[in-house]
Symmetry: C2
Subunit: 236 residues, 2 copies
DNA sequence: GCGACATTTCGGCCAATGCCGAAACATGGG
DNA sequence: CCCATGTTTCGGCATTGGCCGAAATGTCGC
């Protein structure tokens, strides 16, 4: 008889994620931004009371953390580890029983560029990863990457800062892309890249969605720095 | 309003894992071996009828796959992706609300060496990873590794075969060790290493447990090939 | 302080589902 | 062929837990 305790505790966490309303809230939080209880209620499709209960339980289990701000209460994912669980579950859910998502216009925006917790996913995410790899700035292999010395210089020149970090988080890992089935950059590098591109206003968040919009400045900047051609936008 | 469908399907998978009985069965299957319905019932602590229902549902969702053999019915995890979900959940469950596992003798055996789905975990897993890294056979970084050319030679000499594989599985990733909180080798390399060491009879599976036993031959072999000292056994 | 808004607490309803006993299929061995 | 063993199906019981309406608490702007 193997250790029941561990089975039980993973069951407790999984059960928490295993409710459609809570799963929808967590999926929404995968966008990386903190959301208010009300917004989460809308995402989940249940009333505010119900949502409150769900959030309390998830906060108790340390899946999310609340943050008071005025009369709102913001919630965000408690840690990258939580994001990894959701990510792993998404992969499984996507493969499983043959499920063909009809591709709507909203989907199209998400496929182009979106946030994935704290980094960039979608075709833009792949393009950035490919570019950095081709230029010899990083070497990718099996779920992680190594930053080369040329890469370190490149990051410094581009204003992407990696040193300010709570130490134990992986520097450069990859994350399997939900829509494209190929890995993009995650980890501290992925997070820093998203932050920098937002700072530069090359990309911008979209209200109420995980989709990212590429700005005019972004088109030039991405072309110049990462060699992403201007006509990339009109391509599949 | 974000995509409810995806939230629902990950909820379905999570809900399946979120039952203590089922979670225990999946944990047991993390040992990497196929187990019979009866054995799984014992692991889960429920009757055979109940187990049968659980297994049917998990097979339906493609979390496990059944395999008929005589009057037994063997079940194993359906894919490495399923293992990753369980793994990610374990990390979360271990960190969460401060949970101090009292260390029993059975636990001690597991901490020393055990299987983790299809590769080696515990202190032996770490020692192997450390050894290969120190010898320059692999370079580890953030959740994955790269096999050097010296490493390729080393693996060939040691009889560890990587080429026979269904292609898309990562070659060398790492997996966060539940007991030691440091990464050990997983992916195809980890799997091949486990297989080879079992073939050589340097290590042996333990009935009814994920623990691995190191044989006499193993002590010498590991010392000679991986530089793991003979007194390693008696160390913390 | 007062009204508008965001969130939480309480109470009760209802559906979903995990569990087991009993019995029905399978399968292999004598 | 029949019995022992492993596994599944069926039926019914009990519990869990998600949901909402109503009302309380907190917080902002005036």
């Amino acid at each position: 008889m193997s250790n029941i305790a561990s089975g039980n505790t993973i069951a407790a966490v999984a059960a928490l994620i295993g409710d459609p309303a809570r799963a929808n809230m967590l999926s929404a939080l995968m966008g990386g931004q903190a959301l208010t209880a009300g917004e989460l209620a809308r995402h989940a499709g249940v009333t505010a009371q119900t949502t409150s209960g769900h959030l309390a339980r998830m906060a108790d289990a340390e899946l999310v953390v609340p943050q008071k701000q005025g009369r709102h209460r913001y919630y965000r994912l408690a840690s990258p580890e939580v994001a990894r669980v959701i990510e792993a579950l998404s992969v499984l859910a996507a493969e499983g029983p043959k499920r063909h998502h009809p591709v709507g216009p909203r989907d199209e925006a998400l496929r182009r560029a979106r946030t994935c917790y704290d980094h960039i996913a979608g075709r833009l995410g792949l393009a950035l990863a490919d570019s950095m790899q081709e230029c010899g700035h990083i070497v990718l292999a099996d779920g992680a990457g190594i930053i080369t010395s040329a890469g370190t210089r490149f990051l410094a020149e581009t204003g992407i800062n990696l040193d300010s970090s709570p130490s134990k988080r992986p520097l450069c890992r990859t994350c399997l892309d939900w829509s494209e089935r190929r890995p993009h950059l995650a980890g501290r590098l992925g997070a820093a890249l998203l932050t920098r591109l937002l700072d530069l206003k090359w990309i911008a968040r979209t209200p109420d969605s995980r989709a990212l919009r590429i700005t005019k400045a972004g088109e030039s900047g991405l072309a110049q720095t990462f060699g992403i051609p201007h006509d990339w936008h009109s391509r599949p």
